[in-house]
């Protein structure tokens, strides 16, 4: 995949360095410490599993370690004396068999989030523990014994497991799967609007994490010799979770820190005759501290430090250059004439759209058309239903009446991420993934087969300079442009842009207008632009549709519609119109009174003259 190698390389190199150094150090340790290091490496693999689901995809699943029980039981059953498959081959089977259980855990995650998911997964933890204690599943009885390999072999097995699986998570992070996990962590709606199937993202996250956990569970059996249920005791499971939070296990170095810290602190405390409970208390305090500061834990601290070093050495990504803003676009009406004259096809057709929220009617029988080659403005006061229309058209409403068609084909039954192949939208509240660079973000949203060159061209088109900065270090204006670039990269027939100009200066608005106005000519799509900034609307849109209280109250060429008093009334309110009318009639009254007075004066004068 283009750009993949370039981006993963620093992390992979760092991992390789740590693996080589760690391996050499580990092999030179005494037998006992080599064993402790092996246990630490096995727990680091658990860290990778927790890190994937919680650190990357931000799903509060507490049961990852418990899933490892399936791997443990499988390895115990297969590799016991007289069993059918020795270590390490049974590890593969164990990991594979854990995946179905991971998929079962994914099911509640499709509908439940945050605290609700935490509660259900905690229930799964206790359920697994209960089943483990009953000892009825093959391999779960603690008397099933697997002879541990020699300490050296054990260390190599565990350390190499971590190395390979850690590298796997680094590579996965930059694939579409990994990017989709980061996307759903940030915002499920934004992910769907970029064409990411939220369901698929969650299912793949759980499946991969389950395989990791199953492998780690198998490694545990190799180190301890049996799949004792005490390994999956709820407090142990929660302790590892707290440690994952503290270490920031979403990154490989956090997972490694988890394992090393857990194993070595227990061993060291034991050396000095202290209880391992002290280590557990430190983890708890550490986790609380990390949660309070929202600092991303150990790995977050490490990365911040590296960035600071990079900047000091002058090697960090360069700051963005000063923006070169385009001037206001040429008149919009010419283009509209051209589009209508060429008989451009209809990109987006909304017919009779009605949306009700209980008794409130948000949209009432709204119809509009967006032609390819034109920019249609959608304006109206707050609460008129503009964003509701976009939600309905792009599949973010559960139900609506009426129909939506793209390129002549109705899309009413399709979910949001499927509609995103044909029609794209932006959001009022900016929702990008902070840790990606612009190129990575646009690549996530890009259609299949988009080349690196195409992505660069799109970014250049929207005015985002080439940069390796991550999105969280780029200002809001450019981020909004990048959101539009992400839409365009999907090669949609219609692009729906929701209030992009909020908070921009006049020059920046003009620049935005010029770019939006060029979209149809450059990409052949139709654009629907929701805006409050009338200057922008005048500059970019050839025609305008006006909504008020969910109904279309005007449509037509821009200048004409905006001058329409009905439209003005909708924005300014009826009283002012009445006030206008009142003052007009007042003036007429004064004028007629003056005329009467003048006429009376003349009559009086005539009468007095006639005497």
């Amino acid at each position: 995949m283009p750009g993949l190698r370039r981006v993963s390389t620093p992390s992979l190199l760092a991992l390789l360095a740590v693996v080589v150094v760690g391996g050499l150090v580990g092999m030179s340790l005494s037998q006992y410490w080599m064993y402790v290091a092996a246990v630490g490496a096995a727990q680091a693999v658990f860290g990778l599993s927790i890190g994937l689901v919680y650190g990357q995809a931000r799903m509060l699943s507490l049961c990852q370690v418990s899933l490892g029980a399936v791997g443990a039981w499988t390895v115990a059953d297969l590799s016991q004396a007289g069993g059918s498959l020795p270590l390490p081959w049974s590890l593969f089977v164990g990991a594979a068999l854990t995946v179905p259980l991971g998929l079962i855990c994914a099911l509640p995650a499709l509908r439940l989030r945050n605290i609700n998911l935490a509660i259900v997964t905690l229930g799964i933890v206790v359920a697994v523990y209960t089943v483990a204690q009953a000892g009825q599943v093959p391999g779960s009885n603690p008397t099933v014994f697997v002879a541990p390999p020699s300490n050296r072999v054990l260390f190599l097995m565990c350390w190499l497991s971590f190395a390979v699986l850690g590298a796997l998570t680094i590579v996965l992070r930059r694939t579409k799967w990994g990017l989709s996990w980061l996307a759903i962590a940030r915002s499920e709606r934004a992910a769907a609007s970029a064409g990411v199937s939220v369901t698929l993202a969650k299912v793949t996250a759980f499946a991969v994490a389950a395989a990791l956990a199953g492998w780690a569970g198998g490694l545990l059996v190799a180190t301890f010799g049996s799949a004792d249920p005490a390994n999956f005791d709820p407090v142990q499971v929660l302790t590892l979770f707290a440690l994952a939070v503290m270490m920031g296990a979403g990154y490989w170095e956090g997972a490694l820190a988890l394992g090393i810290f857990n194993a070595f602190s227990a061993a060291l405390l034991s050396q000095f005759g202290l209880s391992p409970d002290i280590g557990t208390m430190v983890f708890a305090v550490g986790a609380i501290g990390v949660l309070g500061a929202e600092s991303g834990g150990f790995s977050g601290d490490v990365r911040r430090l590296l960035r600071r070093l990079q900047r000091r050495l002058g090697r960090g990504p360069r700051p963005l250059p000063e923006p070169v803003l385009r001037a206001a676009p040429a008149s919009a009406t010419d283009r509209a004439a051209r589009a209508a004259a060429n008989g451009a096809p209809v990109a987006l057709q909304v017919t009779g759209l009605t949306v009700r929220y209980g008794a409130v009617v948000a949209l009432a029988d709204v119809s509009l058309q967006v032609h390819k080659g034109e920019v249609l403005g959608l304006v109206g006061p707050n609460g008129a239903g503009k964003s509701t229309l976009i939600d309905a058209a792009t599949g973010f409403l559960a139900s609506y009446e009426g129909s939506v068609a793209v390129d002549g084909r109705p899309v009413d039954g399709l979910p949001a991420h499927r509609r995103a192949r044909m029609v794209r939208r932006t959001f009022q509240t900016e929702r990008t993934i902070g840790e990606l660079t612009p190129r990575e973000y646009v690549r996530l949203a890009a259609a299949r087969g988009a080349s690196a060159q195409e992505i660069d061209e799109i970014l250049d088109f929207v005015g985002c300079p080439p940069t390796a900065q991550t999105l969280n270090r780029i200002d809001v204006r450019v981020r909004r442009l990048i959101m539009i670039a992400a839409c365009l990269a999907g090669r949609p027939s219609a692009v729906l842009i929701d209030e992009p100009a909020a908070g921009l200066t006049t020059e920046e608005s003009e620049d935005l207008a010029a770019r939006i106005a060029d979209i149809p000519a450059r990409f052949g799509s139709g654009v629907l632009l929701i805006e409050h900034d009338m200057e922008l609307v005048r500059q970019a849109c050839s025609s305008v549709v006006v909504l008020d209280f969910g109904r279309v109250i005007a449509h037509g060429p821009t200048a004409q519609v905006l001058a329409n008093p009905v439209v003005q009334a909708a924005y300014l309110g009826d009283e002012l119109l009445a006030a206008h009318a009142e003052s007009a009639s007042e003036q007429a009254l004064i004028a007629s009174e003056e005329r009467e007075a003048a006429a009376a004066a003349l009559t009086t004068k005539a009468v007095s003259d006639g005497r």
Partner: protein, 284 residues
């Protein structure tokens, strides 16, 4: 019937803790996974009073309850200072961390020797339905329901209740209106701590002396709290008693070794049904 009544001891504890869970979730926006662990740690102080200072059972129990309020209040202080403006998820994850830490301390304190816990009701029983039912469990179960009713009334009818409800909706706004958010947060934590200590003290006299089971009481109480959809304290209390009785009824049957799965089946079913309409992770 007799078998079901035997489950009142555990059921009453589940009920009391479930009421605390719902109260804290509604008022403070936190799901306190460490509820019974904090109560359990406080209960250990009664051991000290009974065995080293030779106090009677009632004073020792009172000491434990006071310590429960203090300990929980301390946790509440940390939450009020650093976690007031964070999300429900973050706050609840913090309580998981507290659970881990408190269990570690508790393991250390109760290191397996045989301890006698004070039994303030001295184990007397009444005869009901042809079996002996410990008075303590009746008091516990009935007390849980009474507590739920009283707290519900307090929240609806009193000035303090109005302040609490305001605080739960918008802590910053409430602060600006002059409501002492920090003080009320600590108060609710302390109250819940005292109640959960009472719950644990009822269970301890006829139980074994290891710490983790005390911490697990919260997980079972969660099933009861969810029956009330984390909103209704009275349903949570009744649910807790029901869960305890159900576990007891299952025990002698063939499913006996899975009796602890009962609350979790409930949890999973209720959660999936309750949240079946949640299509997206956030509102627009």
């Amino acid at each position: 019937m007799a078998q079901a009544l035997a489950g009142l001891v555990a059921g009453g504890a589940y009920a009391l803790i479930a009421v605390c869970l719902v109260l804290m979730y509604q008022m403070l926006g936190v799901l306190n996974f460490a509820q019974s662990a904090l109560g359990g740690l406080a209960a250990c102080t009664s051991l000290f009073a009974l065995n080293k200072l030779h106090w009677g059972p009632w004073p020792a129990t009172m000491l434990a309850v006071v310590c429960g309020a203090l300990l929980s209040g301390l946790v509440g202080l940390v939450m009020a200072r650093f976690f007031l403006e964070t999300s429900v998820v973050t706050r609840s994850t913090v309580t998981i961390a507290f659970l881990v830490g408190v269990t570690a301390i508790g393991n250390h304190v109760l290191n397996g020797a045989t301890y006698t816990f004070p039994n303030a009701l001295s184990g007397s029983s009444v005869s009901l339905f042809g079996t002996g039912v410990p008075i303590g469990s009746l008091v516990e179960a009935g007390g849980a329901i009474v507590l739920a009713v009283l707290v519900t009334l307090l929240l609806k009818r009193t000035h303090l209740g109005a302040q609490l409800r305001a605080m739960s909706e918008r802590p910053t706004t409430a602060q600006l209106l002059g409501i002492r958010v920090r003080r009320l947060t600590v108060l609710v934590w302390a109250f819940a701590g005292a109640v959960s200590t009472v719950a644990v003290m009822f269970v301890l006299p006829t139980s074994t002396t290891s710490f983790p089971p005390l911490a697990y009481l919260t997980m079972f109480a969660l099933g009861a709290a969810l029956l009330g959809l984390l909103q209704n304290m009275i349903v949570a209390a009744v649910g807790g008693i029901a869960i305890g009785m159900l576990e007891s009824i299952i025990l002698p049957s063939a499913l006996g070794r899975y009796d602890q799965a009962v609350p979790f089946v409930i949890i999973i079913v209720v959660m999936i049904w309750w949240r079946r309409r949640d299509a997206w992770s956030e509102a627009r």
